[in-house]
């Protein structure tokens, strides 16, 4: 199958190889939580809720010099076209939970909150490729909403390599083509990579191009997220009447 039209250079959904899908972020969608956010990348839609910092529930897990970060990733039963029961804690979601936890832990200033616990819940409402990235982006927004101290904002984006072209932000059809899929997470301002995942083989020079493209994507997302946060802060200011 041709994932990039050789005559027009468009992808199946009308994007060019370096185009991202439409993104949208919203803060404060779960009032009960300490912080929450919704993040959309095209048809992928995820929701994140943060509880904490709060007392550690299971005392045996308590860490005395820093906060305990926990993460739970799940997919809603209705998130894909066919309604399937998803067992909790299957391999895939355990792995993604771990990835998200590690990525977020890298930017949270955990040493400021010893003997406490931060829970990150992310749920996929609609899946169309790139859920991992969308979850990280949503979690960043929600953590900021919860007012948890972070050294920088983490953003993530994926890029792939199909029809001999590096493609930014794969959707489900492109993702299931079986080509390499590189997910990158960066600390936007510090320009540091906190997440890099790929489970295929790519020649080194091509890999660098693909990774560079994903980093560009991350930076664009970071800019957008900063805008959303700024807007949100302005709202808060306005409400407080400062």
């Amino acid at each position: 199958m041709e994932y990039v039209d050789s005559l027009t250079g468009f992808r199946l959904d009308g994007r060019r190889p370096t185009d991202m899908r439409q993104i949208r972020g919203e803060i404060g969608v779960v009032p009960k939580a300490d912080g929450s956010a919704l993040f959309e990348m095209g048809n992928t839609k995820v929701i994140a809720a943060i509880y904490g910092p709060r007392e550690v529930q299971n005392k045996s897990q308590q860490v005395n010099n820093q906060a305990l970060v926990r993460c739970e990733y799940s997919m809603a039963n209705f998130s894909t076209g066919d309604r399937a029961r998803r067992p909790k804690g299957d391999r895939r979601s355990t792995e993604i939970s771990l990835v998200i936890r590690q990525t977020m832990e890298a930017c949270i200033l955990t040493h400021l909150m010893p003997r406490s616990q931060i829970d990150i819940f992310v749920q996929v409402l609609q899946a169309d490729g790139g859920t991992r990235s969308a979850c990280i982006n949503a979690a960043t927004l929600a953590l900021a909403d919860a007012g948890i101290p972070m050294c920088d904002i983490v953003t993530s984006c994926s890029a792939g390599y199909l029809s001999s072209t590096p493609l930014l932000d794969l959707n489900y059809i492109e993702d299931s083509a079986g080509g390499p899929d590189v997910t990158v997470g960066i600390l936007a301002k510090m320009d540091k990579v906190t997440l890099l995942q790929m489970d295929a083989k790519l020649p080194l020079d091509i890999f660098e191009n693909v990774m560079q493209l994903a980093i560009e994507g991350c930076k664009a997302i970071a800019q957008y997220i900063r805008g959303v946060l700024l807007e949100n802060t302005k709202q808060l200011e306005y409400r407080k009447g400062v």
Binding site: L7, D13, G42, N43, N171, I173, G179, K201, I206
Partner: protein
Amino acid sequence: MLQSKSFVKKTRQGRVVKVVREHYLRDDIYCGAPSCKTCDTSAARLSTSASTVLIVDTNVVLNQIVLLENPAIDDVVVLSVVLEEVRNKNLAVYNRLKALCTNSLRKFFVFSNEHHKDTYVKEMVGESPNDRNDRAIRVAALWYQSHLGVNTQILLITNDRENKRRAIEEGISSETVESYVRSLGKPDLLDLVVPSSSAGVSMEDVEDLRPSKKKVIYSEHKPMSEITSGLHHRVYHQGKLRVNRYNPFEAYVGSESIGDEIVIYGRSNMNRAFDGDIVAVELLPQDQWRDGKSMIIADDEDDEEEDVHLVPSSADDAPRNENLVQPTAGSVAPVSGRPAGRVVGIIKRNWHSYCGSLEPMPMPAAWKSFGQKNYFIGDRDTENEVLLIENDINTRPFSSQVLACLPPLPWSLSSEDLANANREDLRHLRVFSVDPPGCKDIDDALHCMPLANGNFEVGVHIADVTNFVLPGTPLDEEASQRGTSVYLVERRIDMLPKPLTEDICSLRSDVERLAFSVIWEMTPDSEIISTRYTKSAIKSCAALSYVEAQARMDDSRMMDPLTTDLRNLNSLAKIMRLRRIERGALTLASPEVKFEIDTETHDPLDIGMYQIREANQMIEEFMLAANVSVAEKILRHFPLCSLLRRHPSPTKEMLEPLLQTAAAVGLDLDVSSSKALADSLDRAVGDDPYFNKLIRILATRCMTQAVYFSSGDLSPSEFSHYGLAARLYTHFTSPIRRYADVIVHRLLAAALGIAKLPPIFLDGPQLMSIADNLNHRHRNAQMASRASVELHTLIYFKKRPTDTEGRIVKIKSNRFIVFVPKFGIEGPVYLVPKGDKGADWVNHNPTGQSSSSLSSRFVKQLFAANGGISC
């Protein structure tokens, strides 16, 4: 802007799911006219002075592609909706259109109307997809009209009356193909216009003189849903239809559901299915199952000619289980075991080009010339073209883009090539090549040097094609499409352009050439001590023919170094061959014939079996060894993406016909392994000198062909090559004429760290599709060569009725199949005049049937008497 596309789809498991996809609409799609002020013109393709821009409808592309390919038609905008529709309807036309759109000399522009914010249309309620697409075309035309302004005329070319009417209503100028071409005032273009039934005089208006037109000949194919449920309930059976080589009105469908072959007799039962189609078959009631005998009292259509053919060379094209049912002795068997059936539907067509002939109607109403040549049946050029078309062989000259990739001529070895650290200078070695006489594309050469320790250094040097054919270039694309060179009796269709094939890559004598070498150190017992692979520069000292090489070896007076090398190689090769045979390699036979062609008229002058000499076997042995060595090397480095060649072991069922024939002659073959089979074939010697060869030919026919595959797709146990009894095998030694070898060269270069592995190798599905294409092309090339030999045999015998010896290989109810070893042809001989079908001539005795057939000698008188084979 974002649009959501949502539709309902049925999955392979039969569930219905709703699919929602994003569909982005953009404002940065340009119109392609260089004179446009608002658009980015860097990618514009239309001409600057275009006063008229054509927009074509799908039906115009589908029917008039020949016209569009004419350079007189230019400044065409192809909408993406049209491209998509064409792709769904006819892939061949789509590829031709795509070639037009990418050709830099033609002014065809692809406009993605489906992604443009102003030209995207949403399907309206109650609107059929077809109407929606027509509307999309009109909307795009309208957009162009307002976008380009009054200076440029937009003309919508459509042959659809309704579409044209609506276009004119909406204010778009629209014309049919005929009226547009007429307005150009070029009468020769008019010839290219294919008259369509919806425009001008419709066919219904002309009274059809053929009575058969009115009658229903074939029963309708069942709808797919009915077939699926029928297959599910085991009312229908699915399988691949294979037509009997000798009788176009008899076919077999191998069905897994009943575990036997279903026979289909007659044209109406075959119901428009062609050879190779996947069909659904319904079994006929048992009383209509016919045994082998009543086959002769077949339908009226059955009296068609049966032709003389070359012998099929593998099981892929010979009908299987032909001898499965043997009527009980002497009696007319009332019920045969072979189920008969009829085709009720075609599940998958084996699309493929067919050639046919037209017979002039008794009263030609309007005989129109299509602007093409006239062709006549039996004419050599016509028949040649037919065999090329039917095997889908690309004979078009190489395009200018492809030729632009060639190095400047005359090419010679440059100092840069020698300075390359990866290239070893082997010009001092005594390298020579041995090929068939007149061979111009020499891709292999050898050297053999005695070492001080008594061992030999043997090198196989293969033309370094990949030095000139770089991955991703148009030249590479073209070569990978063609896949292989095709050898016809009087002509060669190259995979690579002539300068590469015959000059730059060809390892001719006394010129310096680049090569890729495999160098072994071998003991005098042909044990390989070490293997070395390197790119090299060589200078061949002699390009010998097989005859010359043989003559040198045989002539004991010649003691020059070259001849000594030849003798050394030959003695090594003999040991290698022996060892290979001991491992169980099969010596299979296929009757190869050779022609002598008149240089003026190109008619065959003489015909004879191809003679295999020791020299041939010597070269073969070293090429096999090189291939095996390379296969091991590349697999070690790239276990997941190496291109290898495997030959699957034949199954018991496939060998069944061989076993039965052998049993009939009282021969017991052991087929438990290739070694056992090879041994029992060696033991199968009759009084007849040809007997062994015949058995081998029959054995060859039971095997499938060897195929290319990517090592990532199969498990290592499936890699082996049955025929050569090799654990691993690949093709490395003929990169000039096979694309597989080019791929293997790249793999080997990457394995040595000389070059980078092209990214295509990491794309599993694409590698698989390349391997599939190579298999397909390889097979077609073989079929074409065989058809060419067949054609020349016929031309030869047309003028020379000949008496010769033949062997009967099979007895059928009304005929027997005779093989003529001298010419390698096989054909049926009727014992009953064709009109007199009912005659019961055989009192045959099934066990005796083939025992007499294989050993008895028939003199050609019979042939003459029956006119069966005096072509």
